[in-house]
Each structure stands twice: as C-alpha cells, then as structure tokens.
C-alpha cells in the first residue's frame, strides 16, 4: 500500500501523519484498521527500563609517548573496562563494578556505582578519571597513564548494546518464605509482590511481533539521540509460543543497537543499582513503525488487554532453570496494580517506566513530524518465528 520511500517524501514535505503506539489503539477502534492504514504513516513506540547487556566503546587518542592498553588494565572512575583490543580502544560494560566494591559480601549489596553510572556521567559531559597500566613494548613504551578524559575530546564514544528491547518479559514473584533480591527487583516472600518489566502496548517489538518492519539497519531513538538496530540481540528467541494475535506470550525477540554516544542525553541513559544484584544501565529506546499496510496497523494497535506474559517464581524455578509458569496475565491486569497468583491477590510493580516510554514515543513523533528523522528500510530481516533460530541452554562438558 505504502512504501518507506513515500513516507519519507511526506516527512520531507511536512505532511506525514504520526501517532504513538498508544494513540493508534483508539484510532483503530473508532475508524477501523483499513481506514487508519490509509491515514496514518508512522506509529512510534518507546521503552525505558534497565537493560544489562549494554555498554560503550571508546577511542581516547594516543598519548605521548604511546601506551598500549590492549592486554593491560584500565579503569574509568575505578570501574574496569575491557582492553582486549588495539592500543587505545576499550569497551565499558554497564554491569562492571570497581574491584573494591563489597559486592554481596554484606548482603544484599548496594552496587551504588558501576559501568552504567560511568556512562551516564560521560554522556552528561563530566570528566572521568582514567587510570591504566600496560606492559610496554618497543613501539608503545609507556607503562602507566593517569588522566581525566571528557567525551568531547574522545575520537569515538559509541553506545553498543548487544541485547536490548526484549519483546515481552516475565513477571517475577517469590514463592519462598524469605525476601529475595533479583534483577527484577526486591521480591517479598510468599507472593509479597509481582514485578514486571515492559512498556506493554508501547513496547517496540510487541507492536511489530513478526519483525515485519523492524530489522537490521532500522533507525531508532536511542538514549535521547539517534541509533540503529545493528543485529538481532543475543538470546533472540523468535520461536516462542505465540498467542492467536501473533504476539509471543513470553520473552522472545531482542535487538542489538548502536549509536553515537556524543549526541545522546544523560536523562535517557541512567546508571542503575539493583539491590543484591548489581549495577546496570536504564536506557530509553523508541522505534518507529512505518504503516505500510493494514496488517501492520492491526499489530501496532494491539492493546494491553491482549498482550500476555508468564508469572515465574524467582526463588526456585528461575535460578534452577526449571521451566514452567505460575500463570498467564495480561498487561492491563499488571497495570491495574494487582494480579491473582495461586489464588492470592498480589500487588504489581513495573521496573520499566511507562510514563517515560510515552515521553519517548512522543519525542520520536515530534522528530518525525518536524522532518528531523527520516525512516530507513531494513537491510536484512531479523530471524523470524519460522527461521529455526533458537535460544539454547548451556550444555556443560569437560571434553
């Protein structure tokens, strides 16, 4: 019906019609998918939650005399980075923590400062302290480096997250009789609370469940700036059982994303501390869905009531890799503040901010309307539901 090229022409002329993934729902209810497919050109999605498989790589430029960080040790504000590259490249992971962090020795550990916090400070334009030691070579003689660095002076500062934007996620509960501290937050004993982590009807991959438009090369809102889908994310699992409407009823697809950190904003990249679990980074991502035909509208207009996920026990089943669900709930139930698990009313909490997801979808909408953001054609599709691509457990072996 429409092509991305035609939509981009409309964007350039200022004639494009953009609505958020929330707004499209009522619109389709009122006018029907067919009409909306003709009238609307783009639907914007958004999500804002902790995403641990994130980080950034940097090139800091060569010192005089030269030093080879590769094979050496390098820290930013005491947080170790990965140096296994050439001389002055390194990667800072969101969950890295200082060597002297007490971790979980005093349980539950607080994890006040880690890689995610360093990234937030770097993006915010703050100086960070780099300390490095190297073994020294004929061409790179220097063995020690101590300096402040600032993002504006770096050659490259690139956010590169190998798994973000999970298509759906578990609801975590605790069946045991003691409090537990997880990446899904603090879980009170005996079904004391139920934590979930998704923007539901605003979440990018829930609104394009078969990856019809979101693919490798898709241009996105990333950390307040522009980024791209680089690949399917790790643990991409498109073969998960789907509901009648095509949407996976459990964690499924993921995205690897990349973008220039220099144009991102610290409000959308937040250092985060999960009590008893670790440090991480909370990231804002928004993906535009071009409305090419009626089918894409139908998927984009699926509401919270028809998006389902599984309730999982994080005291036993999750850590012990025991499959199974304590029940299925939809996002409207989760958002109501209470769900029923094993006959008990359990209060819910979201780790992912719905109001921020909405802000992101609105922001991306305004960029597109202003003509600042053109859509891209995916250069390659993500592995789909029928591709045979799976997410396997580790088979441990010694030979």
């Amino acid at each position: 019906m429409k092509t991305i090229k035609e939509i981009n022409e409309k964007i350039k002329k200022g004639e494009v019609v953009v609505v958020t993934a929330e707004e499209i729902i009522d619109l389709v209810d009122k006018k029907g998918a067919k009409k909306v497919a003709q009238e609307v050109d783009v639907v914007t999605t958004g999500t804002f939650g902790p995403m641990c498989s994130s980080g950034a790589y940097f090139n800091i430029g060569h010192s005089k005399p030269r030093i080879k960080l590769g094979g050496g040790i390098c820290k930013l504000n005491d947080v170790p980075v990965y140096t296994g590259f050439a001389a002055v490249d390194f990667y800072l992971g969101a969950t890295a923590i200082p060597d002297d962090d007490p971790r979980n020795k005093v349980f539950p550990g607080e994890f006040k400062y880690g890689g995610g916090h360093v990234i937030q400070e770097i993006v915010g334009g703050k100086d960070v302290r780099l300390e490095a030691t190297a073994y020294g070579t004929d061409c790179y003689p220097r063995k020690k480096l101590e300096t402040l660095i600032n993002i504006k002076d770096l050659n490259e500062a690139v956010l590169f997250n190998i798994r973000n934007c999970y298509q759906n996620y578990n609801v975590a509960v605790n069946l045991s009789d003691k409090i537990i501290y997880t990446y899904m937050g603090v879980l009170k004993p005996k079904l004391g609370n139920a934590n979930y982590c998704s923007a539901g009807q605003l979440s990018p991959l829930l609104k394009d469940p078969y990856y019809k438009t979101i693919g490798i090369g898709t241009k996105i809102f990333l950390g307040g700036g522009i980024g791209y889908v680089a690949w399917q994310g790790t643990q991409h699992n498109p073969a998960v059982k789907r509901k009648d409407n095509g949407v996976p009823g459990a964690p499924a697809g993921t995205l690897a994303v990349i973008g220039d950190l220099k144009q991102m904003k610290p409000e959308w990249l937040l250092g985060t501390s999960m009590l008893g679990y670790g440090a991480t980074l909370t990231i804002g991502i928004g993906v535009p869905i071009p409305i090419l035909d009626e089918e894409i509208v139908k998927y984009a207009a699926i509401r919270d009531e028809r998006l389902f996920t599984q309730v999982v026990d994080y005291s036993q089943a999750y850590p012990q890799m025991v499959p199974g669900s304590l029940g299925e709930v939809n996002y409207a139930q989760l958002k109501s503040g209470e769900i029923t698990v094993q006959g008990k009313e359990v209060a819910t909490g979201n780790l992912s901010s719905y109001s921020k997801a909405r802000e992101i979808a609105e922001e991306l909408k305004s960029w597109i309307k202003k003509g600042d953001f053109l859509l891209t054609e995916a250069v390659k599709a993500l592995p789909g539901a029928e591709s045979g691509y799976t997410f396997k457990p580790l088979r441990e072996r010694l030979k």
Binding site: F48, G49, P50, P108, E110, K112, G185, V186, K188, G192, N193, A194, N195, L270, G271, T272, S273, M274, L275, T282, K335, G337, V346, A347, T348, G349, N350, L351, S352, S353, Y354, S355, K356, R358
Partner: protein, 135 residues
C-alpha cells in the same frame, strides 16, 4: 503550636486502652493516624502526627510515657529526588503505607509524604536511588 510525627509503641497490656482518645479530650491535641498495627508479638505500633499548643503537647507526651507507651520521634524524613525518579513504579508494592501510588492516567508515581513513615524500605529498592533519607 507544636506539630510532630511520632512513633508510639504500645506494650500488649495497653493495646485495648483508649489512650489516644485521652490525648484529644484531656490535652486538646489533634492527631492524624499515619499508620497503626499490632505486631505478631502483640505490641501496638502507631505513627501519629500530633498537633497542639506547646504546653499541651508536652503534657500529652508526658501522659503517654507515664502509661508505659514508648515514644520515638520520627526524626528522619524520606524525600524523593524528583530528578532521579523515573516513575517506574517498582517501589509501589514495596511501600507498606501506600505512600507511593501510580496515577492510573499519567502512569507517573505520586509520593504522598504525609503517609510516609520513613521505614526506608523503598530507599535501596529504588533502582535509581531516587528516594533519599534526610536527617
């Protein structure tokens, strides 16, 4: 005028006594119950915001102490750093008094500090550490 938030611990034997009523009747104090419950050990726990003339306020406190009620000032406050809060809502089911509530329309998390008893449960549970203890 004095107005303070205080924590009252009632020993088991006092749980059924009309003590708070006497504060109103004999000492002309106004109170606002922020939280009240009986613990499994059957100790009564009540958090009150008590308001009245200074002299009456002090007399009221004296009266409570003489009955055997243990009084603790609610000296520290938990505040929310609005810049750090992402309105995620993961603190909502953690809070025992309903001081943190999701607005169903805006999906933002409202913090009603008049309901907060500074138990600090949310402080470390908040992923961006937006809830801060102020002494």
């Amino acid at each position: 005028m004095a107005s303070k938030k205080i924590v009252l611990h009632f020993p088991h034997r006092l749980v059924n006594q009309p003590i708070v009523y006497k504060l109103v009747k004999d000492y002309d104090l106004q109170f606002n119950i922020l939280k009240a419950y009986v613990t499994p050990q059957e100790e009564g726990l009540m958090i009150l915001e008590l308001t009245g003339e200074d002299i009456n306020f002090n007399k009221g406190i004296e009266y409570l102490t003489s009955c055997g009620v243990k009084i603790q000032p609610l000296s520290q406050d938990v505040i929310r750093n609005e810049i750090k809060c992402t309105d995620c809502g993961v603190c909502v089911p953690i809070c025992p008094t309903g001081a943190l509530v999701v607005d169903p329309i805006t999906r933002k998390v409202n913090f009603y500090d008049n309901k907060c008893i500074a138990c600090e449960l949310c402080v470390k549970a908040c992923p961006t550490r937006a809830m801060e203890v102020r002494f």
